[in-house]
């Protein structure tokens, strides 16, 4: 036990010393300069959270570090400084990259299936479930048992009870 403990301590000290010799910070790049104006930065961020990075499609432009997203962020900062409204900026990007840049797709003829598809599937599912259950209920018939059959059933049940006791 004692031996094990000292080994752990040794490794810990070794790793610690390693970090002292090679601090991680020397490897990481310097942080990119944030725009001078925090207000601009805030608006830019709010806008880019809902925009898709076309290079790394599952990331938003706010999250992505791709060159493409850097450029778009810079473009948006410039447009904010030029007093463009959020709507104008988003329209600017949609004009160039299409609706695909929007994580929240607009409702129009081509996206109707996208918007209502899940509801349609849900309705189909629920209605077929109801039909199925109704049909099954109709199939169940009440059967009246004769005296003999009742006795037989009772005998079987009793047998079962006895069997359990043994």
């Amino acid at each position: 036990m004692m031996h094990q403990f000292s080994a752990v301590v040794k490794v810990t000290i070794f790793v610690f010393v390693l970090f002292l010799i090679f601090p991680l910070s020397t490897w990481s790049k310097e942080a990119l300069p944030v725009a001078e104006d925090p207000e601009v930065e805030k608006r830019m961020l709010a806008l880019t959270v809902d925009l898709r990075c076309l290079v790394c499609q599952n990331e938003s432009i706010a999250d992505s570090r791709a060159e493409f997203s850097n450029d778009i962020r810079r473009e948006i900062r410039e447009q904010i400084k030029a007093d463009k409204t959020d709507k104008e900026i988003v329209q600017f990007l949609v004009d160039r990259y299409g609706d695909f840049v929007l994580y929240n797709p607009p409702m129009k003829p081509t996206t109707i299936l996208l918007w209502f598809g899940p509801v349609i599937l849900f309705v189909i599912g629920v209605s077929s479930l109801i039909v199925f259950l109704r049909r099954r209920r109709l199939q169940i018939e009440d059967v009246t048992l004769s005296q003999e059959q009742l006795k037989e059933a009772e005998a079987l049940l009793n047998e079962n009870k006895k069997g359990k006791n043994v």
Binding site: V55, F68, E75, R96, G98
Partner: protein
């Protein structure tokens, strides 16, 4: 019987949809710029930095705009094809040197050949944004009236040239 056929039919429909999904490329985002006027630009030329080329200079002819960069690996794949196309004289190709270093770009052209009638320089990628560029190489076919007719995302291939680009260019050239 229908009890067993229904799930089978459902499965087949689902499988067909999934199969179609497999053949689609999510990286190919249809450009909203097709059949719209090509964004205007005025950019310095790569070989003669003092000279400016304007997009209006090409009005009246069918031309191709190829977005390229020396750092772009896929550009090397399509490059021999572009050189061949330029030599054939069918259509002039203009190069948009996208976010590149001038000297490296010039060296790159020296090494791999220069298919471009003129190369123009888009250092900060501003014109790239106007054209909706997100993955170099990209190639646009622009008609005599300055309208974008086709956008090829990714490298030009023999297949895309023969099936789509060349027939389109021929058709556009025959238009007034």
């Amino acid at each position: 019987m229908t009890r067993y056929l229904m799930p089978l039919a459902f499965f087949i429909i689902l499988a067909v949809f999934l199969l179609i999904g497999l053949t689609l490329n999510p990286r190919q985002v249809p450009s909203p710029l097709i059949d719209k006027p090509a964004p205007k630009f005025q950019l310095n030329q790569l070989h003669v930095p003092e000279e400016i080329m304007s997009s209006d200079d090409n009005l009246g002819k069918v031309w191709m705009l190829n977005v390229w960069a020396s750092w772009c690996v896929a550009c090397r794949d399509e490059h021999p094809l572009l050189v061949q196309l330029a030599n054939s004289g069918i259509v002039p190709i203009y190069g948009l040197n996208y976010k590149d270093d001038r000297n490296t770009a010039l060296q790159w052209l020296k090494r791999y050949g220069d298919p471009y009638a003129i190369s123009i320089v888009d250092t900060d990628g501003k014109v790239g944004i106007d054209y909706g560029v997100y993955g170099v190489p990209e190639t646009y076919v622009i008609d005599k009236k300055g309208i974008i007719r086709h956008k090829q995302i990714g490298p030009v291939t023999v297949d895309s040239l023969e099936k789509k680009i060349l027939p389109l260019i021929k058709e556009l050239q025959s238009q007034a």
